[in-house]
């Protein structure tokens, strides 16, 4: 604390001296010293704040064994910078590009995620903080909240998408068009009017997006935990989501000292190499053993030197902990009294290659017998000669399941053919779970579910066809919807947005919403290169507003660590539904020329034949036939003579002296040609 104060004192001194010089010119140094003393006093009084007046960088890694023989790795990096008005514009750690981005577009909060694969809510959990904050829809998701007047929000958004697109080598600039983003009113996050939300479900995510993301870290992937990010092993995983969350208080009227905070997380679900046959113990398959080296192919050689803390956590979920207790009771009955975290380095169920520096238990308010456990490993103690390679080896088979969201949300399409269809969102309570739905029932309240769905304009949803089914029975819509906001799509202008709060009775087993839609027909240029694959409808966001996905840990000192802060942040339980693939009718892409020529031919047929019928005179035809029979002459001259006769308004008289008539016509023709040429020359001259 004292060191920090000194540091800030120095800093303040320099600032104040500058200020005082500027303001007062040259006065007695006593006043100066007095001022310095005051500022020193103030800064020492606000010691807690002064401590934060530095740029900070922390890194953390959370590992969690998943029930389906996989391992979740959640990297968390956080850089923060104090507000500009205190700290100035020069940074040592905080990435300049992000700082400029925030300042230029006045971003108050922003989140960008690149995801590949789909988070498996049933197996990997849907209730814990990581699944709520880091399980993202496939592709790119971007939302941003701006601190600009309402009429400039769209412009800021457009500029931001372009800037991010350049920064992350992704086609985020496609979110620029008004058909691809929306302005949720209240459901997505509670920022009124200034939030924009857009997704690109089909964006492919690869190393080209990861490299610029890593560039934002002070150590890149050269040192610290990010050195684990071996590209092949990361992209080999079942799920991969890199996220960038930005909050800034620089523009707020409130004089808070939070400054700008950049939170970067990378969540991967990996399958450990089991190396040959699965190990079996007493007829059951063992969970795969893993180590950092086997998962990532690399080891950690110490922490990133500029990072304030660098910790690795292994989390055992609540269900796993209770399962471990069960197994232990069975295996060694006499020692059942021993607490589970007494010997984490080596016990009868599993074995860890390093013993944890600390064990943190989650504090639960609800009456639960077990709570999840975090094992903390400090990377600081390791170096090149002694690399950190954490390993977990199972000795006894353990089977458990993750904590589930109150209801499992999924979305699917109904109907066949390419004319119309229906979107159904189904919410299913998983029978074999122990979610706190029961608790809700005890309170007698109802389950409130917030659904946010954006549908592109070419899927023309008829919102009046909204039907709510609860436990398979059709319910009246009004009774079950607490609040609804719909902005219908407008062709080629804006997508359709639906936000609603659904109120379901407790103990509901299944609930479903259906919405009918017509499929639109697009212009040939509006189809993506692979048009027959279909079009993606972005994921719907289902959040359970009654439930908080947060864990609180017993150790108060731990609150200083951002990775644990992230886990403790109070957020609603959120799950994303699947991306829907809607096949749309395609025209024949090879046909433009044919269609243009054929249609124009039909028009010409219409025009010509109708004009011909209107023009025709019977007498004239008979005369022409006669003249044809009488005299065979050149078709052109006869036509011309007829034309000239028509112009004069006299009936055609066969020229008596063929030698004179053509010369007359030729003269006229020459005159006409000269006239046309003159006009053309004049045109050319005039427009040059």
């Amino acid at each position: 604390m004292f060191k920090c104060c000194l540091h800030s004192q120095l800093q303040f001194r320099s600032e104040t001296s500058l200020e005082s010089d500027h303001l007062m010119g040259s006065r007695e140094p006593i006043v100066l010293i007095f001022l310095i003393l005051i500022s020193t006093y103030e800064s020492s009084a606000k010691g807690g704040i002064a401590e934060e007046l530095n740029e900070e960088f922390t890194e953390g890694l959370l590992l969690r064994p998943l029930p389906d023989r996989k391992v979740l790795a959640h990297f968390h990096f956080q850089s923060s910078v104090p507000p500009t008005r205190i700290y100035g514009r020069h940074h040592h750690l905080f990435p300049k590009s992000i700082y400029q981005l925030v300042n230029k577009f006045r971003v108050r909060e922003m989140e960008l995620s690149f995801t590949q694969g789909r988070w498996n809510y049933e197996r990997w959990g849907g209730y814990d903080p990581i699944s709520s904050s880091s399980a993202k829809p496939p592709g790119v998701e971007l939302w941003a909240d701006f601190d600009v007047p309402l009429d400039q929000v769209d412009d800021s958004w457009r500029n931001l998408t372009h800037a991010l697109s350049g920064l992350f080598c992704a086609s985020i600039n496609f979110l620029e068009h008004s058909t691809s983003y929306s302005a949720p009113q209240w459901s997505f996050h509670s920022f009124a009017g200034k939030l924009r939300y857009g997704t690109l479900p089909r964006e492919a995510v690869c190393t080209e997006n990861l490299t610029p993301w890593l560039k934002l870290l002070p150590c890149r992937d050269k040192a610290g935990l990010s050195a684990l990010m071996d590209r092949p092993s990361i992209y080999k995983g079942y799920y991969h989501s890199q996220r960038l969350h930005l909050t800034s208080d620089d523009f707020g009227t409130a004089k808070s000292n939070a400054g700008t905070m950049l939170e970067q997380t990378l969540t991967v679900v990996l399958q450990p190499n089991t190396l040959g046959a699965r190990a079996m113990v007493s007829g059951k398959t063992l969970q795969p053993s893993w180590s950092l080296n086997s998962l990532f192919g690399r080891k950690v050689h110490g922490k990133c030197s500029v990072s304030k803390s660098s910790n690795v956590y292994v989390q055992f979920e609540q269900n796993l902990v209770s399962e471990l207790k069960e197994v232990r009771k069975k295996s060694e009955a006499p020692e059942s009294g021993i607490l589970i975290h007494d010997d984490f380095g080596n016990n009868t169920i599993f074995e860890m290659s390093a013993s944890p520096d600390r064990v943190v238990k989650e504090v639960e308010n609800l009456q639960k017998e077990d709570s999840s456990i975090l094992l903390e490993f400090l990377v600081e103690d390791y170096n090149d000669s002694k690399p950190f390679d954490l390993g977990l080896r199972w000795k006894l088979p353990v089977v458990w399941s993750c904590q589930q969201a109150p209801l499992h949300a999924s979305r699917f399409l109904m109907g066949s053919g390419n004319e119309r269809g229906a979107i159904a969102i189904s919410l299913k309570s998983l029978s074999s779970n122990n979610t706190p739905t029961v608790g809700c029932c005890e309170k007698g309240s109802q389950l409130r579910i917030n659904i946010f769905q954006v549908v592109p304009w070419y899927v023309k949803v008829y919102y009046h066809t909204l039907k709510v089914f609860i436990d398979g029975e059709l319910q009246s819509t009004m009774e079950n919807i607490e609040k609804i906001h719909i902005s219908p799509s407008e062709d080629k202008v804006s997508p359709g947005v639906m936000e609603m709060i659904l109120r379901l009775p407790c103990g509901v087993i299944t609930a479903a919403l259906t919405l009918e839609f017509d499929k639109g027909f697009l212009h040939i240029d509006e189809y993506p290169p692979d048009a027959n694959q279909g079009f993606d409808i972005p994921s719907a966001v289902v959040s359970f507003t009654d439930f908080q996905a947060s864990a609180s840990f017993e150790d108060n000192l731990l609150n200083k660590l951002p990775i644990l802060n992230e886990l403790q942040e109070r957020k609603h339980v959120i799950s994303y539904t699947e991306v829907l693939l809607v096949p749309l009718t395609t025209p024949d892409f090879s046909m433009p020329y044919n269609v243009i020529t054929i249609t124009c031919t039909v028009f010409a047929l219409y025009f010509g034949s109708l004009l011909n019928v209107l023009r025709r005179r019977v007498g004239e035809e008979e005369r022409r036939l006669k003249s044809k029979a009488a005299k065979k002459k050149g078709p052109l001259t006869s036509l011309l003579s007829k034309l000239s006769a028509k112009l004069k308004g006299r009936p055609v008289e066969p020229p008596e002296t063929p030698s004179t008539s053509p010369s007359l016509i030729n003269n006229k023709l020459v005159l006409k040609v000269i006239l046309v040429a003159g006009i053309a020359a004049g045109w050319q001259y005039y427009f040059r």
Partner: protein, 399 residues
């Protein structure tokens, strides 16, 4: 997505929401269509009666009534009404709850009002019909001609000649062309200017009325400019590319964006181009002119439906006597039947089964357009030939 008149919506909109127990949802709406079609048929019948009496009078005046007695004259009004009511296209529009029966009703109302000489009714029908679907605007020419002159007659020159013959016979002068007695025109050839002026007055009253009503109903939604953009603008810019029986949807789905505006202008001008030549050539037959205009616009309009075809086919039956010698009538009939059977099949193959291709359906639309072109061209041809025949008969009786 409704892009029609807000007034029609305020009438029909509530009906879509009312549901009768145990009945299909759109029963009430279809009922409205059926009633509109029925009234429409009655009006067509009344118009047919007027046309028929006018025809009889004219022929008598030309002295051809005795010549034509051996030819059976069919009651064209009844036939037209029956053709309109029993046309499968009309039935389809009722079943599918299309708004075209209502639009057709106002078009026919305008024609009936004009041919019966009821100026306010003609103006009302014209204004509402143009308000609903824009294209009936071109009907102003036939309506003016109908009001100015009387209903369809043989060419006015014949009356002139007839008069001249009579006067010539009386004056026993051989080259009567030289003394053209201008004062001796038959009453049919005079143009009633006051009726036309009255028509425009009434039309402006109705337009003001409709606009005020619309302005009130769309006040909260951006006012009249927005309404014009969403209704007429939507029709003129062909924004919706859903397949229909017309020719424009596939064209604008495929055409390069660069040329889009050019072709929009070309296609809409194509409708307008033919107005003047037809009006000059057929000015003595305003009802037939109205039929030709309707047929052309139903062929070239942005979002055609079979309801438009039902209307012009019904009106065509008003001229059964005149068009009796039309060419290719059997071929056209077979073509219409064939297209109306093939077109749903192709649509189904493309949209629902996915085994077909857009080109299949587009081909039927093209064939349908061609048949409509042949129908229009041949009917105009037949009508002109009919007039020629009358002229020939006149000259022969003269001789």
């Amino acid at each position: 997505m409704y892009h029609g008149s807000p007034l029609l919506l305020s009438v029909l909109g509530p009906l879509t929401a009312i549901k009768i127990e145990g009945q299909p949802n759109h029963l009430l709406c279809s009922l409205v269509s059926v009633i509109a079609d029925f009234i429409c048929a009655l009006l067509i019948r009344a118009t047919g009666r007027i046309l028929q009496t006018a025809r009889g009078l004219n022929l008598k005046f030309l002295g051809l009534d005795t010549m034509l007695e051996d030819i059976e004259i069919m009651p064209s009004g009844d036939i037209a009404a029956l053709v309109y009511l029993w046309n499968p296209f009309t039935i389809f529009t009722c079943v599918g709850f299309n708004t075209s029966p209502v639009e057709n009703l106002f078009v026919v109302l305008s024609l009936y009002g004009a041919s019966a000489g009821i100026v306010p009714l003609a103006a009302f029908g014209w204004v509402i019909a143009s308000h609903l679907s824009l294209y009936p605007v071109v009907l102003v020419i036939p309506v003016i001609l109908l009001l100015g002159y009387c209903p369809d007659t043989p060419p006015r020159k014949l009356f002139l000649q007839r008069d001249l013959q009579k006067t010539g016979a009386e004056g026993s002068t051989k080259n009567h062309v030289q003394h053209r007695p201008l004062t001796n025109k038959p009453t049919e050839a005079t143009f009633f200017w006051w009726r036309v002026i009255l028509f425009f007055m009434w039309a402006s009253i109705w337009i003001a009325y409709v606009l005020i009503l619309c302005a009130i109903s769309v006040k909260e939604y951006g006012g009249l400019p927005e309404m014009f953009k969403r209704t007429y603008g939507f029709i003129l810019t062909v924004k919706d590319l859903s397949p229909n029986i017309g020719v424009l949807w596939y064209f604008f789905a495929e055409v390069f964006d660069f040329f889009r505006n050019f072709f929009l202008i070309v296609f809409h001008v194509n409708i307008l181009f033919m107005i003047l030549p037809l009006a000059i050539r057929l000015n003595h037959r305003p009802c037939f002119l109205a039929f030709v205009y309707l047929a052309i616009s139903s062929m070239l309009k942005s979002y055609p439906s079979v309801g438009d075809s039902a209307l012009y086919l019904g009106l065509m039956a008003l001229f059964v006597n005149e068009l009796a010698e039309m060419q290719f009538s059997f071929f056209l009939f077979c073509g219409y039947v064939g297209v109306s059977l093939l077109s749903p099949v192709m649509h189904n193959l493309w949209i629902w089964r996915g085994t077909g291709n857009a080109n299949f359906y587009y081909a039927t639309a093209m064939v349908y357009a061609c048949f409509q072109i042949i129908l229009v061209v041949e009917s105009v041809n037949a009508m002109l030939n009919h007039d020629r025949k009358i002229r020939k008969l006149c000259t022969t009786t003269e001789g």
